[in-house]
Symmetry: C4
């Protein structure tokens, strides 16, 4: 577990360098490989430029702190992580970004970002050719995490690739491990940027 | 104090890397936690790519060098820091940037930059939801620091978030400590960039 | 050979930093100086942020893994490398990028990107003055690498500088060694960016 | 001298990171403080990502290699350095960039880039207020360095700040030492970027 914490902390710092987590924003998690009902999630309010393995805590599948972490506040959006792990039981890692281009795309596209014909679409698991059109759904932002979790459940059929955008907020992406979740987030963010720049 | 100097110097170098302090521009300060009438401020004319803890000096609340620093020139804008600490007595740290998007916003907006509906607005202390509209005031630039300090005093009511822009110059942001001031500056700069790119 | 692997791995990580290889995308190769029928090529599916000398494998000029690497999968685009080394027998190194500006240029230009009058054009071997007009060809993307190799052979006369773009995919560039291939790729990418920004 | 070489080499690598010297482009020099007729200049064709103190050579005020460097080729643009040192005898260091925004400005402005009202203009030596308008001249690019040197001599009166642009090529800036030359180049490049982005 310590290794996984170190690896994810390093990714978090690298993503901060890219500008994907201004100030203390964004949150990240993984499930313990040998006990997937335990979610290791970033604590609330940590400056991501200096995020370290000590800045994680453990919660259960309802988002409640495990006894060893009583009194420590998990990220406010932990419920989103819990819901995604329930909807996609094979998924073991969730990443989040507040990238500029994710936010811009969400302000332009009411329902979804359409991405068509790009080689890098093959970065999404299961896609074998650039000759596809992919819809990354955009959901309205809210501070009510219970309501948002219900939205995710209702809209599950629209999650045809492992990523979505919260409007004026940012991207969530996930995978069966950190490696895959990273590939999915970077694929989405790269395509949001290219697609935005082409249209503007 | 040495620790605080080291921490702020590291932030200054990181901000230079982002392009927020071209050449020798910008200035930074904090107040001594156990003696808040002493302001530790960056010296004038230092290359921010190599700023170190030795490049600070101490001034009083009038901006005058303390005896140990007689003859050393503080940053020209030290009076702005002094005034902000008087107007907001709980504030202990002030950061400044000359970011490209701050300058661009100030050339487009006569009175204030309006930021509406962004999740990252919650980076400003006291804001709990994205469903707000925030005005970051833009004041005309001047070389007369006494006059500008008076402007700040007169316009204090418009400082509803801990940041403002000087026109064609850059952003000031502040907080109760370095951590909070950093969160406020990064929140403002991120939103200036997103907002500019959406409109152009 | 170990030295060359280390040097190319360092370039690969640096290019990832520039955003030229999101997720696990792109591929790279060089030929052994004392046995140019052996191609050292990046393995498939490696995260380029952490690419190391151990992530290469060896194939022959048909793209088949050498016995020591039986069962290891080379990059899917290895056949492109093989074909380029056959078409340009003096070339010893091939680099690839998925840069944003390469993709943007390929979506705007049906046949070729025209670059005219730039000093940096002298970065292409053999060009001695900025007073030239260069055409970097754009070929349609495909997942059929055999078909694409034939396209390269048929269109060889259009390869008047050592670089081309695959549409909505990225740039290939090559040289007589890593140093020259690097100069050619950086020349192309820089000019794609300048040229795009001037027109938009 | 070794110290100065190390310092300038570090600046060169940092500028490469900013994208100011794609491939092997750009060149840099300083004069020996105790023997200003000796110019220490970057050798031709060095990859700037790895430029080290060993990549300098020494030439005289005519641009000819000193005996210890016989047979080594200085940068092709050494004659520009020689001419600038003659025109401005107090100047001891010259920096060059091929930045994207310098090239873009030179394609838009036939005669000069006008910069007006920016605080950062104070980065140019002698400017004490933002309430000025500065003209950075743009000269046509040429491969004939003797001709270009004559242009500089004839147009000396237009060099009212220590910087100019060669069209579709890049910026030259200079100062009485590395520190000042660096401040001047960074001032110019920052303002070229802001000014371009505001207009587009």
């Amino acid at each position: 577990m310590e290794d996984l914490k170190q690896q994810l902390a390093q990714v978090i710092r690298a993503y901060h360098q890219k500008g994907w987590s201004p100030a203390t924003s964004t949150n990240y998690s993984f499930r313990l490989p040998d006990n997937p009902d335990v979610i290791v999630v970033s604590r609330s309010g940590i400056d991501k430029s200096q995020f370290s393995a000590a800045d994680f805590m453990e919660v259960d599948m309802q988002g409640l702190a495990l006894p060893a972490y009583e009194g420590v506040r998990p990220s406010a959006e932990t419920l989103i992580h819990c819901k995604l792990y329930r909807l996609f039981p094979d998924m073991m890692c969730i990443l989040h970004s507040h990238s500029v281009y994710s936010v811009l795309q969400s302000m332009k596209n009411a329902q979804a970002v359409e991405l068509r014909g790009y080689e890098v679409l093959k970065g999404f698991e299961g896609i074998k050719t650039h000759e596809v059109s992919v819809q990354v759904p955009v959901f309205d932002n809210t501070q009510d995490m219970t309501a948002f979790s219900e939205t995710l459940e209702q809209e599950k059929d629209r999650l045809t690739v492992p990523a979505f955008i919260m409007r004026q907020h940012g991207t969530y992406a996930w995978g069966r491990n950190l490696f895959e979740a990273k590939r999915h987030l970077e694929t989405a963010e790269y395509l949001f940027e290219v697609d935005w720049k082409f249209a503007h």
